[in-house]
Structure formats: structure tokens, C-alpha cells
Amino acid sequence: MNDKLAAILTCIAALALVLQTWRRFRRRALSIRLLVLWTAIWSSVAYFALYPSHLDLLMRFLNMGNRLFFLTMSGILVLLILVFRQSLELTRAEERLGRLTREVALLDHRLRHGETSSPEPVDDSRGSETEG
């Protein structure tokens, strides 16, 4: 009985989070990629709360015997992947922000002081910047 209650409560919580995710998406606070990702995560939580025996299929495939250990390790792995992705996005955002701020400062300086481009011809082609 307690297991069923726990499963129902978990489902309700997961459903609430799915709705919350959709609300954020509708308010443009979430990209479609994150909408899909988090909806999948919350839906999986609800599904396996209702049908825990279906986890056993996955565990047999992975040759694991302890359900709790499997859930814990899976959760940690998913979280680490998410943190890694967020780190990459944060780094990219910082880089873009830095570049943008420098460009704005340079443009503002040019406008106010009427600086001209360098007197030497400049090769603006990007062909020489290929990596590897």
C-alpha cells in the first residue's frame, strides 16, 4: 500500500513538473530542446514509478541486480551529463558576451572619435584560420 501511495505521489509530482516545464516554455523561458529533455525526464520518472517492474527489463539487459543501485547510478549519470552540457553552454555564453562587449566598446569608440581603419590593407578572409 505504501509503495502504491509513493508511486502515485511521485506521478503527481512528475506531472506537476511537466506542466511547470510547459509553462516555462510558453513564457519563452525555456528552449524547445530543454522542453523535450525535461519532459522526457519527468515522464520517465512517472512511468517507472507506476511500472517499476519495467525497470527490471533494463537491468537484465545491463546485467545489474540491485534496483536501488541502478536508479541511483542512473540518476547521477544523468545529472553529470546535464552539468557537463550546462558548463559547455556557459563557457560559450561567456565567450560570446566577452566578444560582444568588446565589439560594442570598439564601435562606440570609433563613432565618438572617428577612428579610421588601419592604413595597411587587411586580409579579412577567414580561409587561413582553418584548424587542424
Binding site: 566577452g98 562587449t101 568588446r102 566598446a105 569608440h109 577612428e115 588601419s118
Partner: protein
Amino acid sequence: MKPVGVFLTAYNEARGLSPLLDAISPEYEVYVVDDGSMDATPEICRQKGVHLVRHAINLGQGNAVLTQFAVAIDSSHEFIVAMDADGQHDPAAIPSLLEALRVSGADVAQGSRVLGSNHASAPWARRTFLGPVTRLLNWVTGYRLTDAMCGFRAYRVSTLRRWREMFDRFQEPEYMASELWIRMARAEFRVVEVPVKLRDRHAGVSRKGSARYGWGVASAILRTVLDPPPSERP
């Protein structure tokens, strides 16, 4: 436009900026790259009539240095001198940096606090960590520097213009000095060192003696060494 531009990178340096700007000879064109200061730094620059290049937000000194290079390349100066706005770099040393560039034909004149006469009185952290970091950079670059981390330098602008496309490749602006030396070495820039004296900061404490900064420098060196672009030569 005057042949020499003097660039200061500043963040909340209102306290000592005015006397510093007054101490710079009027024969130079003065620029202040303001890295999003929240104090009166921009107002002081406007009052003194120097060029103010302003970041909308604080990005760190490395990004301010990249902006400095972009403005220098845009200009028609023959040489630029880069210095900090915290008062540690004496404007009286500017002519010696420029003279070293002219006489030697080098691309960069590096100020050396070690060759200067008062290194022994520098803060403990600097005296302790500067040597190993400089030796590490010497080993990686092949230069024979005595002080790789001093921000008091003069550059030949024509060299910076040939180098312009590499500025987008900087990966660790926060630890600019390390990456800059490695990239300059790959581009075979000629460097000459000039003794400079260090003065006390107007205010505040340098963070460059912290363990975190030291770790950042080491990781920036490692990252730059492991990630070489195909060619750095201008």
C-alpha cells in the same frame, strides 16, 4: 594623431587615476580602457580629455587588453605602451620602453620588475611565484625573460596589425599574460626587456598572488600548449 599611444586598463581606479593621467607626458595619446567601472573612473577620463573606451560590463583585465589591442590596430600609432591604472607602473619609464623598441627593432619591449631596482621589496607572493611562472613560460616559449607577468609593455603596432586575426583565438582572457607569451613566441616576435621600478598600488590588493590565480596561469599555459592553431605567424 600622435605616434605613440599609451593605454591604461582600469577597473574602479578613480582614486589614483587623475594624478596618474597628469603624470603621462602630453606628447602621447592616452587611452583608458574602462572595464565596466562602477566609480568615477569614466568621469575622470572625460574631464582629463583622454580617449575612453568603455566596456558595458566588467569582463576582466584580459578582455580589456584585447579591446586595447583592437583600438591600437584601428589607430595609426607607430607604438603603443600598455600599463595598469593602479599606479604601480611609473609613466617616467615609458621613454625607456620606447627607446628599447626603436634601438633593438624588437616587436615587444617588456618591463621587468626583476631587473628593476626594487624587486626585493615586492610582496611575498610575487617574489615567490613570479620566478617559477616566468621560468615555466621561458621553457615553453624559448624566451629568456626575467619577468613575464609585468603588464608594463610597449608594442610595435605594425606587428599587432599582422597578428590581428589571432585575437579571436584567445581562450583564457582572464590569464592573458601566459597565453599572450606563448602565441607571441609561436609568431616569433622579438622581445627586449627593460628594467622598471614597481610602485605601490593606489588602493586595493592584487589578486595575482593568490593560489587560484596561480592555478589559472598554469592551466592557461597547459591549454594553450595543447591546443595549437596551424600557424601563428603573421
